[in-house]
Symmetry: C2
Subunit: 359 residues, 2 copies
């Protein structure tokens, strides 16, 4: 997959840089961890520092000093997560800013405009996400609105150096997902995203929904992006159903809480057993954290609430995640995908059997 | 000046790594910023993670992955700053831990033992610091106790690979300082420190006290360390009075509050004028922060309370401070010390005319 700021090996994971920074890390750290593309958030950046301000400062790449590809989301997910603070109409969404309570307005046209001002390599259509547990008629209405907004995003989009991806909605209802896939795939988007998952549904529902989408897309050659996913095992679920791109705050968020992903499974550094452990987090990992520090040191930093804890843990979890995606690509090439999945499942499945809410 | 972990150019500034980390930075960052030696805190490290634990993990250098020289303080200053939570007797100090309120005991012998367990290159004698504004009799009593404790520290010290420095006390009273200097200089310490300054006295009092010490030390060849100082102009005050070593949390603490030290003077990044400023913090600085980011980006990170703000600001302020120390060394060599001081004073003196409390 190619973009104006470089090409991307797929399947690929995108670290999330919500506020023009992947929390605690520099672009140089991200490169070292293996990142090829990162994600920025339209909702957050439009409120602060403001899309026009970022454009005036030379665009998001220059602003945050990341010269690789950037994908921006459309704001749809964040508006959904504001819950009671928003009002949706056919033209767009009015919501109260989480920063100062001021009323803000996002429409398909404004979302596209913001993303063009930010100058991302890949923009996302503005969609309406709903709780998949709502009655089918409500899920269906949001889906139909998402389709109308998709056409308005395409009409509003002007930057020839920026790709625009459509988003499939429809909750976990197979017939709605099928209709949404057909509707979005019929439009001239540069890529196709699956939205509305990883918001409380079960692992089985996520897999079944991805099956429906994969069937309906059939041999559509465009890049496929599963939004807001995931965890180590979710990548296998997605990749075997044709997913090329993933993003999730999970690796960095859990890192800041002291949960480290390793080839021995999850380690919680707040557990007392680590305070005297001289071993590295993961003996097979090549990141700076594993090279230079013991579990005991990291356990100390977390207890002392030292800023370096969040940085070293984030660097490791991203390295782990990007190493895993690279291993998945290699396994696809040499036919060892199932064997790799079994290895990773042995490390992670027990902790992943519960329903997830990862964003 | 040489230590088991490398030699040090003097005059030199030591970044403070209170809890086995210079907040938000890695040893690699410190090297890049120009650090040759760092400081660790006996009080904090003995409470958490514990000196015996650090020793069991291979010592402080290995624990925090810094292979250069380390100086540890003795705990005297932190115990002083606990104010009402401590009780001093002739044998030592009993105090309540700031972590859990548990009663703890520090004596000259235990302070030396902790520092030997940590394995620092330079240990400090355990002293009794008092407010220099107290009546002379109280300042004098604490000074006399400091002298008795100095002898006990020397008697307790066993590591041949660790230097031990004595500490001069005596507040801002010239006759007490003179007596303390003579008493400490008469003992076989490897270096001489000036304690009890930068705790609320005026700039003029600090300078006058350093004059007294310099006169009393005369041509004593040992390394001289001014504890807990300082700010850009304080370095000149100290260096012209023979000081070789400085340490202070000021550069990193003010950095985390958004105050950046530059060749244009202090910049407060929380000031609204920076949110659209595309310039680097300091066009003459070679640090990563100045190379890659604008003031506008840093102003955004501080407003968004992003972890990267504290890291990039700390890296810059330490680079600035260590660059300044290097410039002072060069100025001493080529006779331009006064001209350099005038340049820096033009940038900083207005903000430094008030009394300071820097630790």
């Amino acid at each position: 997959m190619t973009t104006p700021h470089g090409s991307i090996d797929t399947p690929q994971f995108m670290p999330v840089g919500t506020q023009a920074t992947v929390k605690s890390l520099t672009p140089s750290d991200l490169r070292t961890a293996g990142a090829q593309i990162i994600l920025g958030n339209t909702y957050h950046l439009s409120l602060r520092p403001g899309a026009e301000r970022v454009a005036g400062l030379g665009g998001l790449h220059r602003f945050m000093a990341w010269d690789g590809p950037i994908l921006t989301d459309s704001g749809g997910f964040q508006v959904f997560s504001l819950a009671d603070l928003r009002r949706v109409d056919d033209d767009g969404v009015t919501f109260a800013s989480h920063l100062d309570g001021s009323l803000q307005r996002l429409t398909p046209e404004r979302s596209v405009e913001i993303q063009e001002l930010l100058g991302s390599d890949i923009a996302m259509a503005f969609d309406q996400l709903v709780d998949p547990g709502l009655p089918a008629v409500e899920v269906g209405e949001a889906m139909e609105r998402t389709h109308r907004w998709a056409e308005r995003c395409l009409a509003a989009h002007t930057r020839p150096d920026q790709a625009l991806f459509g988003i499939i909605q429809g909750g976990v209802d197979a017939s709605l997902r099928q209709r949404s896939t057909a509707a979005i795939a019929a439009l001239p988007f540069d890529g196709i995203a699956v939205g509305g998952l990883s918001v409380g549904e079960s692992k089985a529902q996520m897999a079944a929904t991805l099956d429906v989408v994969a069937d309906a897309l059939d041999d559509d050659p465009r890049v496929r992006y599963l939004m807001g996913v995931g965890s180590p095992l979710d990548f296998f679920t997605g990749v075997e159903r044709g997913i090329d791109l993933f993003d999730c705050v999970l690796p960095t968020r859990v890192a800041r809480n002291g949960q480290l992903w390793t080839r021995e499974g999850r380690l919680n550094l707040r557990n007392a057993r680590f305070v005297d452990d001289p071993a590295p987090l993961d003996a097979e990992c090549g990141c700076e954290t594993c090279r230079d520090y013991s579990r005991a040191y990291l356990a100390h930093l977390f207890r002392a609430e030292e800023l370096l804890a969040y940085r070293l843990a984030s660097l490791h979890n991203l390295t782990y995640t990007l190493d895993l995606m690279r291993a998945i690509r290699a396994a696809l090439a040499d036919g060892s995908f199932e064997s790799l999945r079994e290895t990773v499942a042995g490390q992670y499945q027990r902790a992943e059997s519960r329903p997830v809410s990862q964003q």
